[in-house]
């Protein structure tokens, strides 16, 4: 089923991202893993709103012959995705800034060596 492929992709991406976050020791790679998981969730949301042969839900210069609203994809999941992308940018910026500061204090990005707090 060709329409199931996005869902399988979501599963694979989540597994890849989780692998990076759990088994990689580099803080930057952990941030990348988090971004991959986030993209997977975003892809999931967008896929939910897709309709076969649907166009973007925008009235400006809408091609003629499109039924309203049956011919359009769902707008709400796209709005949700956009919000989650915005939040993702903020989280990523924060995480990278913290990584920079960690590198400055510890001289390494290896999570095994960044553990001054463990007693």
């Amino acid at each position: 089923m060709i329409y199931s492929i996005p869902f399988y992709t979501v599963i694979i991406l989540i597994l890849v991202g989780m692998y990076a976050m759990i088994f990689r020791r580099n803080l930057i790679k952990m941030a990348i893993g988090l971004t991959i998981v986030e993209s997977a969730v975003n892809l999931f949301l967008v896929t939910l709103g897709y309709r076969e042969g649907g166009v973007a839900p925008i009235y400006t210069n809408l091609p003629s012959g499109i039924k309203i609203p049956e011919g359009m994809v769902l707008p709400v999941p796209q709005a949700l995705t956009l919000t989650s992308i915005v939040i993702g940018v903020a989280i990523l910026a924060l995480m990278l800034s913290l990584s920079i500061m960690i590198y400055r204090h510890y001289g390494t990005l290896d999570s095994k060596k960044v553990r001054r707090l463990k007693e």
């Binding site: 988090l34 986030e38 949700l80 989650s84 995480m95 913290l98 500061m101 960690i102 001054r116």
Partner: protein
């Protein structure tokens, strides 16, 4: 500007006011140091008054509904649609109860911060972020919309992370913040995924509408597991507790007090999902049992890990985990017993205990963290072995510490006793072993705080220090006042505040009715 108008719009105003103040802060910060401090405190006080004003009406039996952007804020379902499509704020007794906690703790921490962070850099940003934390907490507690919950959760996460790393000149602070951020963002992605699963099936985001449409399919159960796991992670329950001591110990003490309230906002979201979204029709004993196990593990692991700690804030952080266990135990027992009709009165009682413990814990643990901050302010150390004899010079701090310690250990004249007694009583109905473990943990807590008191305040005078500045004492006094008030009149508090909140949480039908029924 009459009171009815203000009351009607106060749910939106409660969230918008600190947001407005947070964005104004960089501008006010340019004027002068004094203007910034006065502005921050005035906003926090106005916020507290607004919350109490709304709370007075909500506890009088009127849950408030507010629809953003509608021609009439009370019409949740537009004329052309069959379901709520706008963002709806739903303020019932439980939500406003949590909002009272958040506003009070933020007020105390804000007053405390005036002197506490005086020597640090970036104070304007500090207050901006403090107000944003308040926005995040209040938003989570007042909203009636799943996606809005997620957004405010992320606002809370980002603001908390930035403030945990506030003392970024030390590596520890950044490390704690990074751990907190990783755990929080994974939890938030779980929440988003669960929301997507729910949206895929019902095309709904409004909690009340979802609750009335939910079919308990397998996907719903997966979503429930994701939501419970995510919020349990965020509220610092065992087995995902390891970020708590790290983040709590490195943040400035005033922020740690707020972080306690922030984890409780997640706890609230957990309860809201279990009770209002999934409701009593699901097999409750299973979720109740899971919460009881989480609770027992948190209580026991938290307190045993606390005993050997040398760092005063780390020790208190482990106690925070253990106290979160009490709340989970109380509400878990409540869920478990509500599923059995013959025990339902005890079920409500257990939930009252758990919910009462939330407010008590926010107050006394906030107070304890503030006292630890006072010690840090004078000695610049968190290590218990380097302290001693502070009782001679810091009398007020010592008194506040004793009150907090007695309250957390559940000694009668203070508020911790009242809520713990309710939990013991109800847990006994499930199994006497639960009550015994809970009491044992309580005794261990007392032992641990006796140790702290002895090593910090007793003994010969070592350090020649003064009492901390007045504004810090005032911040602690706010929380002490609430502790003593609740300790002296537990019956009134349970009857008028906690019982409506527990009832609002347990009564799913009323929650749905408020949004889509009327």
């Amino acid at each position: 500007m009459n009171t009815d108008w203000l009351l009607q719009h106060s749910p939106a105003l409660i969230i918008a006011l600190p947001l407005l103040a947070a964005f104004l802060m960089p501008v006010v910060d340019r004027i002068s140091r004094k203007a910034r401090n006065v502005f921050a405190i005035i906003v926090l006080i106005v916020e507290e008054i607004l919350v109490l004003f709304l709370a007075y009406d909500v506890f009088g039996g009127n849950p408030h509904i507010y629809t953003m952007g509608a021609a009439n804020p009370l019409t949740t379902v537009p004329a052309q649609a069959a379901v709520p499509i706008r963002i709806v704020l739903e303020v019932d007794a439980m939500g406003i109860f949590m909002a009272m906690i958040s506003a009070t703790v933020c007020l105390a921490a804000g007053i405390y911060s005036l002197a506490f962070i005086e020597e640090e850099k970036g104070k304007g940003k500090y207050y901006t972020l403090l107000l944003l934390i308040l926005v995040g907490m209040l938003g989570m507690e007042l909203t009636g919309d799943m996606f809005n919950l997620f957004v405010f959760l992320e606002v809370l996460t980002i603001a908390c992370t930035a403030l945990i790393a506030y003392r970024s000149n030390t590596g520890d602070a950044v490390e704690g913040a990074f751990k907190f951020l990783i755990i929080s963002s994974i939890a938030a992605l779980f929440v988003l995924f669960a929301i997507a699963l729910l949206y895929a099936q019902y095309d709904l985001l409004n909690m009340a509408a979802l609750a009335s449409a939910i079919q308990y399919s397998n996907l719903d159960k997966i979503a429930l597991v994701l939501l419970v796991a995510a919020f349990a992670m965020k509220c610092g329950s065992v087995p995902m507790h390891f970020w708590t001591p790290d983040a709590y110990s490195v943040a400035p003490a005033s922020i740690t007090a707020i972080l306690v309230a922030a984890s409780q906002a997640s706890l609230y979201a957990l309860f809201r999902v279990c009770f209002s979204l999934y409701g009593v029709t699901l097999n409750l004993s299973t979720i109740g049992g899971a919460l009881i196990i989480f609770g027992l593990l948190s209580m026991f692991v938290g307190v045993t890990m606390a005993l050997p700690q040398k760092d005063i804030k780390r020790l208190m952080a482990y106690h925070a985990i253990s106290q979160t266990g009490y709340m989970l135990l109380g509400v878990g027992v409540g869920l478990y017993l509500l599923a059995k009709p013959e025990f339902s009165t005890y079920g409500i009682k257990a939930m009252e205990g758990g919910i009462f413990h939330i407010i008590n814990h926010a107050m006394y643990k906030g107070l304890l963290f503030l006292t630890s901050g006072a010690i840090f302010y004078r000695l610049k150390t968190r290590n218990l072995n380097e302290m001693g004899g502070l009782g001679h010079s810091m009398k007020w701090t010592a008194i506040f510490f004793i009150i907090g310690a007695l309250a957390i250990a559940g000694i009668p004249p203070f508020n911790g006793f009242a809520s713990k007694l309710l939990i013991y009583e109800a847990a006994y109905k499930v199994s006497p072993i639960l009550s015994i473990i809970a009491m044992l943990v309580s005794i261990l807590t007392l032992a641990s705080f006796v140790k702290v008191f002895h090593s910090a305040f007793m003994g010969p005078k070592i350090y020649d220090v003064e009492e901390v500045p007045k504004s810090m004492l005032a911040g602690m006094a706010v929380l002490t006042f609430v502790i003593i008030l609740f300790g002296l009149f537990p019956g009134w508090v349970v009857g008028n505040i906690v019982h409506p909140a527990a009832q609002a949480l347990a009564d799913q039908a009323a929650y749905i009715q408020a949004v889509i029924g009327g």
